[in-house]
């Protein structure tokens, strides 16, 4: 079977005056719009372009493009065509092997509405308590249901195109009609990636923020406002579904949490930087993390609220060192209804 192809509308780029995809990029220097446009045309035309080397795979241009024309997916396509490796080859190999479907279906008692843990064990810890009453057992997890979006970081659109249709099939075969995605990567895959590649999605993806917001409204009698100031750590895959960002404000509103108006939030969010570390080494990654955390401190955040477990892994202990309490969004909701934070930092005692 031929692999699905990226639907990309060149005319939109031709008509575009802003070239926001490059101009707004936080990791490339394209202040000059004309230069940006020229360079972007090279990308589209499969010519050699500095963009392909310089891209840190932060996903942000997907959000910057006002036409929904998938500039990032285009970059990934071109990187792969030209054999450009955003990350070292063995890392790519490791990722490809690690998530390879092997026919091991890790499922709970799946019902028509199910939770996707994607391939993130954190959710074993996080999914607990009243927020998940009535759904906690309806779970899919592991390679067979892995959304595969991660290969966007590794210039391996071919892996996505190869594996994703089967993944969609696997989910459908579980009889799932509504899939509550606990990770933006999954949600973005089933709302953005599948449509960009013309893959049919025979179930309804629901962002877990929407789910949480609904549950919180049902449980609103239990909510005791937290009255805290929190920095929000917006993750790369949130760029695939910017339409869900308002839920952060909605949920914070219900919980009595102030989303501090810091520099690096919303469209201007900074990557957690572990992908940058893998791709570019420590200098850029350390700089990005420092700027991000300093920004949280400067704006008086008491908590740092995480959406993505991978961001949690890379930043939680670092924000804690600066006196900011790291917490996942699910746990934040739990706090407000009198339950305990489940995902915590392991004791960082060096065992010697």
């Amino acid at each position: 079977m031929p692999l699905p192809e990226l639907k990309f509308d060149r005319t939109k780029c031709a008509e575009c005056q802003a070239t926001s995809c490059l101009v707004k990029c936080q990791y490339m220097d394209f202040k000059d719009k004309d230069k940006a446009k020229k360079e972007w045309q090279k990308v589209i035309n499969s010519e050699d372009s500095s963009v392909l080397e310089a891209c840190t795979t932060c996903y942000a241009c997907e959000e910057y493009c006002p036409f929904g024309n998938h500039p990032f997916y285009m970059i990934v396509e071109r990187q792969e065509e030209k054999g450009i490796l955003p990350a070292p080859r063995p890392i790519v190999t490791m990722w490809i092997n690690q998530c390879q479907p092997v026919g091991r279906f890790m499922v709970g008692k799946v019902e028509e509405r199910a939770l996707s843990y994607c391939f993130l064990p954190h959710f074993n810890t996080l999914v607990k308590g009243k927020l998940f009453d009535g759904i906690a057992w309806s779970v899919i997890f592991g390679q067979e249901f892995f959304c595969n979006a991660v290969y966007l970081h590794y210039a391996k659109a071919s892996v996505i195109k190869d594996r994703l249709p089967k993944i969609v099939e696997n989910i459908k075969n579980q009889g799932i009609k509504e899939l509550v995605c606990l990770h933006d990567e999954c949600y973005g895959t089933f709302t953005s990636l599948t449509s960009a590649y013309g893959i049919d999605t025979p179930f309804k993806p629901i962002h877990y923020y929407e789910y949480l917001y609904g549950r919180l409204k049902e449980l609103k009698d239990l909510i005791k406002p937290l009255n805290i100031k929190a920095a929000y750590q917006r993750n790369c895959s949130a760029r695939l579904c910017p339409e869900t960002d308002h839920y952060v404000d909605d949920i914070f509103g219900l919980l009595g949490v102030e989303r501090v108006k810091r520099e690096y939030d919303r469209e201007n969010a900074l990557c957690c930087a572990e992908v940058l570390r893998m791709a570019r080494g420590p200098v850029l990654a350390d700089d990005v993390q420092k700027r991000n955390i300093d920004d949280m401190v400067r704006f008086g955040a008491e908590y740092c609220v995480f959406n993505c477990p991978a961001c949690w892994d890379s930043l939680a202990h670092k924000v804690a060192k600066q006196g900011i309490k790291p917490i996942h969004m699910i746990d934040l909701c739990k706090l407000a209804i009198g339950e305990e934070q489940a995902l915590r930092l392991p004791e960082l005692v060096a065992e010697v």
Binding site: P90, T93, M94, M278, V352
Partner: protein, 463 residues
Amino acid sequence: MTTTSALYDSLVKIVGKDFVSDQKEERYFYARDGGLMPPHEPDFVVMPKTTEEVQEIVKLANREKVPIVPKGAGLALTGLVIPQLGGIVLDMNRMDRILEVNEKAGYVVVEGGTTHGALKSYLQKHHPNLRHSIPDSPPIATIVANAVIHGQGRLSQQHGFNSDMVSSLEVVLPTGELCRIGSCSVSSYWFSKGPPLPDLSGLFLGWFGTTGIITKLGLKLYPCKKMRDVMLFLTDKAELVPDIMLRLSHTEMVEDVVVSAQPLPLRFRGTFWIMAYITGDSDEELEFKRKMVWDALWEYFESRDVGLLSTSPEMKAPLMSMPSKDLTRFADVSKGGGFQYAGPITPIEKFPAFIRKLEEVATKYNVFYASTARLIDAGHCMMFSFSFSFNRANSDEMARAKKALDECSKFALEEGGVLWKADIYEQRLLMDKMDPNTLVLMKKIKQLLDPNGIMNPGNWEVK
């Protein structure tokens, strides 16, 4: 020769009834280890508590010409404590005291059966600024036995074999005399196993208990920094591994370098996982060392041949634990309770050839493999393990695993490696290749120390 029951009575007289067994159950268990060597039962298992008791037992054995095999935890897996000719197995586990820590001179004196686990725990509690080189065998492994087989540990990259870290010995000779080796033979300090004296420790280390029984051992301790971290690098090119190891060692900032390879779980397939351990007393120190490590490998990073795998604290925990439970878990990958490895000590340039051989042999004999290589002594050599797991309930698989091991050992020897903790057959391979005059010297030493040939017979048996 005295009858068995008279011997039993004599042993009971020495250590007490509770600590001698001639019963089938103990004889069965002490006849074998976790590896693939054929079992052979002892006549007695004896557990002395004091050096004097050890002397008494040895004198008795020497008088009666009964074989005697000193045993730690029996974890070498190559049958080194299987009593090939029966006799007495001396389980040293009751001699487990930690006698002295000299903080300023940086050593500890332990009894012959003290475990690595107990010492680790003791130092953490009482001397948190000091540590010793913990091997990756389970914590029940004893310090003495590990030194006697020239084990390696978490500080071997910097300080050599764990036996290099011995700083004095007390030994019961095969004829029963008690003998002190190193600085403790002339001083109350246990800081040196030899220098500036003739280094007699070589008469006992590496001899697998064929030349005497170590009842006390001084061990060097090293600074224990407040923080520790591991950096995990991956490459898919075996031929780069030796240079990567050397570059890491060159920084003189890495305490331990371990390279692992295995085909399953899938995330391991096709890449070599290189773990570089660093320590520091402050964030700044750790950060500086991280930078040095990055700098050392930057060229390979830029060429995209080597990558750093970001690791969450949860992922790091098992890599950081000492000893590593993950290594022990390898025994159960095929739900079969067994693994064994051939672990030649070899120049690090051999890494690519050894990996190729490992994959070839695993395919040939249809066995599951893994490998762990540890850098020793700033790159002078490495331990490269050809590890095979097997199901203990599957005799055919056990036979295949044994053949695979034998083939790897022979190969390693041909390639210029030296077999580590060689079993009795591998010892013969080594001795067949050995300089004849070395063999004569070994024979003379054994005859001199153990005229009746009672000590762990079958091992280092020069024809």
